[in-house]
């Protein structure tokens, strides 16, 4: 069953892009349940995952039926950034992913919330959630970067490893009008470099996107781990066509 939604109306493509980011990252954070580094952090990660899932449900519902979109689309129809589909890795990788994404999401929703477009109401709520997620990521980046030698090394590896997925965030998203993407990118770089500096980490210098010209997440081209993630996420739903839950 192919359920790629009609992308003929402009907000649909944008709703899918933003909704898929939130859905996929929420799923990844949900994988932490039961083995976070400390009990307090179980609760914190779950709160972030639940905020993101709430955003995803609103956004996907703007584009169609949330469950059809989440569970019945093929990999190529997902429009999320490759960054958010990256596996959790160790806690440092999870935090680096959170830092890169939540700074982006905070800046983007802040701009969307102050506009009068179709995403302004959602963004008004999401910007507060993203501000907290960003703070959480920053707090942990500081502690891991400026903690022990081991944590510093792990955090440096993580920020380096995920750096090449960050360029994609600033490709204009169809339907998000009035966003100054280069300005967003500058603000993001300033914010991230500031945190990394305070965390005694070296801001990565390598390319921020891959050399492969085929495209990236926003065009429906994903990394290998994503197919497995979707297989797990969609299996039960797809095994019972038409069932309600």
């Amino acid at each position: 069953m192919t359920t790629t939604p009609a992308a003929d109306t402009v907000p649909t493509a944008a709703a899918l892009a933003l909704g898929d980011d939130a859905l996929v990252l929420s799923h990844r954070l949900g994988e932490w349940a039961g083995h976070a580094p400390v009990l307090e952090e179980e609760v914190a990660l779950a709160n972030i995952a639940l905020d993101l899932l709430g955003q995803a449900r609103v956004l996907l519902s703007m584009a169609g039926d949330e469950d059809e979109l989440a569970f019945l689309r093929e990999e190529r129809a997902f429009r999320n950034l490759q960054l958010v589909e990256q596996p959790n890795g160790d806690f440092a990788h999870t935090i680096a992913r959170q830092l890169y994404f939540s700074v982006y999401q905070h800046l983007l929703h802040d701009r969307l919330a102050s506009g009068d477009g179709p995403f302004a109401p959602l963004a008004g709520k999401a910007v507060k959630e993203a501000a907290y997620h960003r703070d959480h990521a920053e707090q942990w980046t500081l502690r891991l970067g400026d903690g022990t030698d081991e944590s510093h090394a792990r955090m440096q590896r993580a920020v380096d490893a995920l750096w090449r997925f960050t360029g994609e965030m600033f490709q204009p998203v169809e339907g998000l009008d009035g966003i100054d993407w280069p300005g967003l990118e500058r603000a993001w770089l300033d914010a991230v470099q500031d945190v990394l500096g305070r965390a005694t980490l070296t801001p990565p210098e390598g390319p921020r996107s891959g050399a492969w010209r085929a495209g990236a997440g926003r065009q429906g081209l994903h990394t290998e781990p994503f197919g497995r993630m979707l297989a797990e996420m969609q299996h039960l739903h797809r095994s019972h066509p038409g069932a309600t839950w």
């Binding site: 799923h27 569970f71 806690f91 022990t148 839950w245």
Partner: protein, 338 residues
């Protein structure tokens, strides 16, 4: 919950008042007995008999361990939840269990043990958690059966603990019971959706109830005449009802609920007894209970090793934050002195 006063933990959680001397113990004991008899709460820095303290530490720790081990069988389905609504509910529920573990470890810490000590004992297999979590969650319907039956049994056990004689435990239980009622209802609703769904979904629900019913009944512990801790705990008002009494209450509640679900409970001997005013039910296979308790359940090894692994893999994170805090506080102290 009424305004809970700040915990009396001056000097850290391990501080408590030992009797001033052996001659005073009788007076302290009398005061303690009188407080328990009058249904007053015992608070952390009150004198209490060593055995009372030890019983509470054992019970609260076991309860806390059950919450965090209990996250595993349900977290097993978060990534496969079949709708986004169900996924949100399940994540929130598993999160609550982490929270409940935290409330309970805090209550135990008022008795002079640290969470680290308790976790070490759990990881070393020297303290137990509820055996129910040594059963596997094989299908999505198990998430519903756990909510309805396992959380239902837990609530039946726990509601009386809100009146337990030890203040911090009772207060933790008030908060937990409030949050648990959502757990049971979501499980029931989940099973209802399956029961009324496709034939495959209905069969999945029935299969889950068939597997979880008997282990749920075992959650109330061995029969009263074989329960080694019960009598003393009742006298101390840590426990308010006997195992068999609570088990019967649970069965009586579940039978009509199962009928409304359109599912059957796997017990041919289950029938209403007019004379007793209760449902009679079949004999429980206690050999299975003792086997699982001793470590031979389907998932004992898996649950414990996963827990140990999470703890070990998190060590560098906890150390990093502690190291950062130490650096930071030194900086501040330095600045103040300057």
């Amino acid at each position: 919950m009424a305004t809970a006063a700040a915990r009396d933990t001056a000097g850290g959680p391990t501080a408590y008042d030992a009797p001033a001397g052996p001659g005073d113990t009788d007076a302290f004991q009398r005061a303690f007995d009188a407080a328990v008899a009058a249904d007053e709460r015992i608070e952390p820095r009150d004198w209490m008999p060593d055995a009372y303290r030890a019983t509470l530490v054992r019970q609260i720790a076991q309860h806390a361990h059950s919450e965090i081990i209990g996250m595993q069988p349900e977290a097993n389905w978060i990534t496969r939840a079949p709708s986004l609504r169900r996924k949100a509910i399940l994540m929130a529920k598993v999160q609550d269990e982490a929270g409940h573990g935290l409330y309970l470890y805090s209550a135990a810490e008022t008795l002079g043990v640290s969470r680290d000590e308790l976790l070490d004992k759990l990881h070393a297999g020297r303290q137990k958690y509820s055996s129910i979590f040594n059963y596997p969650t094989l299908t999505w319907a198990d998430v519903g059966a756990i909510g309805w039956l396992v959380d239902g049994a837990a609530i039946t056990n726990q509601v009386p603990l809100c009146r337990c004689s030890y203040g911090p435990y009772a207060r933790a239980m008030v908060r937990i019971c409030k949050e648990e009622s959502f757990h049971q209802r979501q499980g029931y609703e989940l099973l209802l959706a399956l029961s009324k769904g496709t034939p495959e979904q209905h069969a999945m629900a029935q299969d889950a109830v068939d597997r979880w019913w008997w282990p749920s009944l075992m959650m109330f512990g061995p029969p009263d005449d074989e329960s080694q801790h019960s009598a003393q705990s009742m006298a101390w008002k840590i426990k308010r009802h006997s195992n068999d009494e609570l088990r019967q209450r649970f069965v009586d509640i579940c039978v009509p609920q199962a009928e409304s679900l359109g599912l059957t409970l796997p017990d041919p001997d289950l029938r209403w007894n007019e004379e007793r005013g209760h449902y009679d039910f079949g004999a429980i296979d206690w050999s299975e209970f003792w086997d699982v308790l001793k470590g031979d359940g389907p998932c004992n090894e898996q649950r414990l090793s996963r827990r140990r692994q999470a703890h070990e893999e998190g060590a560098w994170v906890r150390e990093a934050a502690a190291a950062h805090a130490a650096k930071h506080s030194n900086d501040e102290t330095g600045a103040t002195r300057a």
